[in-house]
């Protein structure tokens, strides 16, 4: 293993009509770290994630995931890269017409040629790893609670043991207890599967609990550092973000 970043963004420009969202944005995600992306509403966090995932072509600059520029690859060359990425969308984005087990089976069917019996066993393993009871496998997404849907979405995201895991607001919509459990679940999985994790979050608790580094979208660029470095940053938005009542409470509970 080398120390090449799993994700390298250089000089990214994103425009919507006349509005420029990102202007010369740089970002590196190191192997094996949990990087949290924060930023105010409308600063383009989700667009950044979509660009990294190759769902949107950059308007300028380059985005490399695992050494490949997804936007430039043809569909055949994309598959091996996609196989090494897992994504958890905000509400799980489970396919609503399929049961949870079928959802988790899909990446296996698409990218591997394993014995169906073994896949069945691996599905049980994934369900257990994300802390879902096994009878959730036969259920449809609409029969699950929001928290369970997120866990099921996570099980699908880690189905093929990806190198990089993307999380879009993993704790949004969960109660504080559920959110804390989800945080520790992500930390656990990250450690035991040696994942690199990129997550968008609004949750200051999550930052304090599990993020190795924090990336803040500020003035169309990225400010990256450990939580303590970021907290010492003089930018007024950051000051306000961490010194607001919510931010302070979350950080105090962490012992700062």
């Amino acid at each position: 293993m080398t120390d090449a970043p799993v994700i390298r963004v250089r000089g990214l420009v994103t425009r919507f009509g006349a509005a420029t969202i990102h202007d010369g944005l740089d970002l590196d995600v190191r192997r094996g770290e949990i990087l949290a992306i924060v930023g105010g509403s409308g600063t383009g966090k989700s667009v950044l994630l979509r660009t990294i995932l190759g769902l949107k072509a950059p308007d300028g600059g380059t985005v490399e995931v695992l050494g490949k520029r997804l936007a430039d690859l043809d569909p055949d060359a994309r598959a091996p890269v996609l196989k090494r990425m897992g994504v958890l969308f905000q509400d799980g984005a489970l396919f609503s017409a399929m049961t949870v087990a079928q959802n988790i089976r899909l990446p296996f069917n698409e990218h591997t040629r394993l014995d169906p019996k073994l896949v069945g066993q691996l599905i049980r393993v994934k369900l257990a790893m994300v802390g879902l009871p096994q009878d959730a496998g036969a259920k449809l997404p609409s029969e699950l609670s929001g928290g369970m849907r997120k866990r099921a979405g996570l099980a699908r995201a880690i189905a093929l043991d990806p190198d990089v895991l993307f999380l879009d607001e993993p704790t949004a919509g969960l109660d504080p207890i559920g959110a804390a459990k989800f945080d520790s679940l992500i930390r656990d999985l990250q450690r035991s599967l040696a994942l690199s994790v990129v997550m968008i979050t609004h949750d200051v608790d999550t930052l304090g609990a599990i993020a190795d580094r924090v990336a803040v979208l500020l003035d169309k660029k990225m400010v990256v550092g450990t939580l303590d470095e970021i907290r010492a940053h003089p930018h007024p938005w950051i000051r306000e973000y961490f010194s607001g009542p919510r931010g302070r409470a979350a950080l105090e509970s962490r012992g700062h």
Binding site: T99, L122, R124, V125, K126, M129, G137, D161, L193
Partner: protein, 380 residues
Amino acid sequence: MRGADHAGWAKSGRNGADGVMTLGGRWTLAFVPDLEAALGKLDARGARRVRVDLAAVEALDSGGAWLLHRQLRRWRDSGVAVELSGASDAQAALLERMAIAEEERKPLARPFEGAFRGLVERVGKGTFHTLGEARALIAFLGAVVTTWIAAWRRPARVRMTSVVHHVERIGIDALPILGLLAFLIGVVLAFQGADQLRQYGAEVFTVNLLGVSVLREIGVLITAILVAGRTGSAFTAEIGTMKVNQEVDAMRTIGLDPMETLVLPRLLALALALPLLVFYANLMALTGGAAMAMLGLGLSLDQFLEQLASAVKINTYLVGLIKAPVFALLIGLVACYEGLKVTGSAESVGVHTTRSVVKSIFLVILADAVFSVVFSWLRI
């Protein structure tokens, strides 16, 4: 990059009576067939204890861990003590997690009832569902009428801006497509009619055929079906989307009655616009028929009009037109009812939009059949 990828391997050896298994390489999902083969070759026969050394394992993911766990369990089940060594903390933790997956074994697939039983069950459920829907639709009609009466008492509460807006969308915006459709149907009717009647030398009666069928049936039916597909679906989707976004709930909390603000203006607009559209469609279909008659049968416009006047009474036209408000009510009721029944997801919007169109077209044709029976009974 991760260096040259090489499949995981496993070697078995002996240390006195104990088996010693040395594992190495990449134990990942990509190498499952190699790993299964390697594990199959391991030999622990006769050993009371097996030591498994993971020190040379470069990578272990849940796929590899599961295969290894299965092998360890087989040994344990046959009474062999297993001892792990050389695993990193993460690897040991991952292997430990595998045990959780085995604790319970609930089925992953939905239970499958027998084909026949399933069929009977679905038919039964479907029947009750349909009856329930019919009942609910009638209840909805009742609610609409109640709102309507309340609105008559306080006409200021009728949202005229909304009504006018919907009349424009239902009526004026539909003119081009409806006109073209009706014109073409007039052409086709005249063409087919002339073709058949020519055999009896009665081509001129094509005009009778055209006039009566268009004014009594075709004009209103085509218009209603087009409006059901175009406007009914739009109503359901709009109201459904508002339900998904909780806009309807927000309305209620502000004290607005969705019946009054969403349903009533749409129904009123439909009831106003549909008869007008029917008149327009009749005109266009007759124009199409006239064009065909003049080109294909060599009738002059005067002859066409004369023949038409002798074939068609004012009643013929009114019989068609009187159905229009009824059809409008059916389409609007079904569309708004389905829209308000949308729950939660975007998927539900799609389901109810489809249902809305199918149901309203079905009800329109059913109502048309009832009208036919009633009219023949009344000898109109």
